[in-house]
Amino acid sequence: MTDYAIRLRGISKRFGDHVAVEELDLDVPRGTICGLLGPNGSGKTTSIRMILGIYVPDVGTVELLGGTPDHAHRRRVGYLPEERGMYKKMRVLDHLAFIGELRGVRAAEGRRRGGEWLERLGLSEWGDRRVEDLSKGMQQKVQFVATVLHQPDLLVLDEPFSGLDPINQDVLEGIVRELNDQGTTILFSTHLMDQAERLCRRVCLISRARKVLDGDLREIRRAEDRGDVAVEFDGDAGWLDIPEIEHAREEEDGWHLRLRDDVAPRVIVERALAAGVELHRFEREAPRLHEIFVRHAGEDAATEAGRPPAAQITAAAR
């Protein structure tokens, strides 16, 4: 029997007339990194708040670390909310020690661990400064430290990387992976699909308060594989206008082709050679999360994420 860090069974939450989450089921086995994906306003934050017992679901049950989301279990969770605040006038180490104390770490021990983390993140000389003196990126790192200071069994991160520059994003991603290697279960929400692809073993896609799809990311991609190929070439793109190709899309890294059913990928290579273009790359392509999401939730739902659909050229249109 698998041990679960989180099990949700049919939880719903409405605020007045607004349905925030509708009948959500979710299993997060211990030791995995699970992504909660969906556009803004799809119900990610409300779901997370119910997991943590900040909101009580109208119906349904929440199981957290094998029990109810009560005080004792919540202490074993590290939660980084999307809108995360700090006491601006407090000194960084005092702030870390205080948050640790709320979760049962003695103040002195919290300061020690906080110091170690700050050193690791290159912030050691900022420990005695006031929070308000830190840059936004530094504050985000300190908030992350506050979240993991009490060595939680489960990390719940709501849009953890938003607003971070790529370098710091990499640093935090590395730490998340490392904590996961040490056995910490991680649930994080994001509307950035490619980030989820990099980090997650499991994903749960939600749209408009409802779950669209969830499970092991590799299995999902295998099941959703439609035999797409990616090609890069020099020369005129006119040869792509052939009946074997249902749909072609150009992105920065080349063309992404959706083939009609029963078309073998080999045919595309032959066509390219016949057209006389110089082929640099040709590969089978597993479906992207964004695409899977669109397939299941519809283009409208995906654009709610604020992500404009990539430039598209369909064979029919040309």
Binding site: R49, I54, H71, G85, M86, E101, L102
Partner: protein, 417 residues
């Protein structure tokens, strides 16, 4: 759970006590007091020469003038009878000593002094009003005593201020003027501090809400624990501040005042201050009503803070509370003047008014023990109800953003909690 409340209390307390605001606010009170009461002490050493030459041409006033002058801090060198004739112009002869500060001045008493109490004083610089009044009174007093002792010895008794024997038909309480003063000052201090610390709780709640730290905290702490820790923390700051003030006033009264009076006898009127000092029982009453009122109002203020999304919104939302607090402050003079009227009795039993009004009546001696007990019990019961309702509003409101809730929504929060 207890450790989380304690951690919140500790943070609230330390952050506040360490802040510049606390130091300024705490120092400002006693400093003002010291500035008013203690400044003369600082200047006492540099108050210049105290030697005063008294030329008594009447030959009889010196006996009463000398102790009077010495009582207000002058050392008297007398020049009587024989010398008078030798020195027609005593002040002129000594003008050098007066100018270079070896001598304070020369006071000449003559027949005009006996007749009208007027005398002539020669000094280097203009007199401070305080000194002038003190000197004038010494001279006039001794002239009056002289006149009365010859004309109407029995009238001397009038000088001591007479006496009034008061027969009280229904002797329920004994009221002393000093109690009245503490009742008035104490209730004013209660009103100010309750308002001050209540608003401090509210602002702290709003700050946590607007900075969004609250969600981090609530992921590991129950809302009611956060509210309790905060109220206890701010309350501890309040007690610290009051304690510091009480201590400084105490030290000033016990140590500073006697030294001040020794150095500047002309400030004798300040000795009255000692009589105003509250008794231990009165201080306990103050503490009881402060704590009761603080828990009552801070619970209300915490709920108001949880409803608001910004400081401005909170300022508006607290209007009903401010009115609740102002009412007793406004009717306080009436209650003190007529402490046994039914209006005074009933308003002082209303839990929201009791901290100020019942305290005032109790300290001035007009409230029975039963009334004080009833008021404190009323405050306690109301506090429990308010904390329960406020806690529920706080619990829902603290995570809400957007429009301020209507009364109907508030009621739903309370029921849903």
């Amino acid at each position: 759970m207890r450790s989380a409340v304690f951690a919140i209390l500790k943070r609230e307390y330390l952050e506040r006590v360490r802040s510049r605001w606390f130091v300024i606010a705490t120092l400002a009170g006693p400093l003002l007091f010291v500035a008013i009461a203690g400044l003369p002490l600082l200047t006492a050493g540099s108050s210049g020469p105290t030697e005063l030459v008294v030329v008594d041409r009447t030959g009889r006033l010196l006996a009463t003038v000398r102790p009077g002058l010495e009582a207000v801090g002058y050392s008297v060198t007398s020049v009587t009878g024989a010398d008078t004739r030798a020195e027609r112009d005593p002040a002129g002869v000594r003008s050098g000593s007066i100018r270079d500060g070896r001598l304070f001045g020369v006071l000449v008493l003559d027949s005009a002094t006996l007749a009208t109490g007027s005398a002539r004083l020669t000094v280097a610089n203009a007199l401070s009003p305080l000194r002038e009044v003190a000197l004038r009174q010494v001279v006039a007093q001794s002239a009056l005593v002289d006149r009365l002792s010859s004309d109407a010895p029995e009238a001397l008794a009038l000088l001591s201020g007479g006496s009034l024997e008061v027969d009280i038909l229904d002797a329920r309480v004994e009221v002393e003027g000093s109690d009245f003063i503490f009742a008035y000052l104490g209730s004013f201090l209660l009103y100010m501090t309750l308002l001050f610390y209540g608003v401090a709780v509210m602002r702290s709640v709003v700050e946590e809400k607007t900075s969004r730290i609250v969600e981090v905290i609530l992921s590991s702490v129950r809302p009611i624990e956060l509210m309790l820790g905060k109220i206890l923390g701010v309350g501890a700051v309040g007690l610290t501040q009051l304690g510091i003030w009480a201590l400084s006033v105490g030290v000033l009264a016990e140590v500073g005042l006697p030294r001040l009076l020794a150095a500047r006898p002309e400030l004798a009127a300040l000795a009255e201050f000692d009589a105003v000092a509250p008794s231990t029982g009165q201080l306990i009453l103050f503490l009881a009503f402060f704590l009761g009122g603080y828990f009552l109002y801070s619970s209300l203020y915490a709920a108001v803070g949880a409803m608001a999304n910004s400081d401005q919104e909170a300022q508006q939302a607290q209007a009903p509370l401010v009115i609740l607090m102002i009412v007793p402050a406004v009717i306080l003079p009436g209650v003190l003047e007529n402490p046994e009227s039914s209006m005074a009795v009933w308003t002082s039993l209303v839990p929201f008014f009791a901290p100020v009004l019942m305290f005032a009546r109790a300290v001035s001696g007009w409230a029975s023990a039963a009334e004080v007990t009833a008021a404190l019990a009323g405050i306690a019961v109301t506090t429990v109800v308010v904390a329960w309702v406020g806690g529920r509003i706080y619990r829902v409101g603290i995570l809400m953003t957007g429009k301020r809730p209507s009364m109907r929504q508030l009621w739903r929060w309370v029921r849903a909690g």
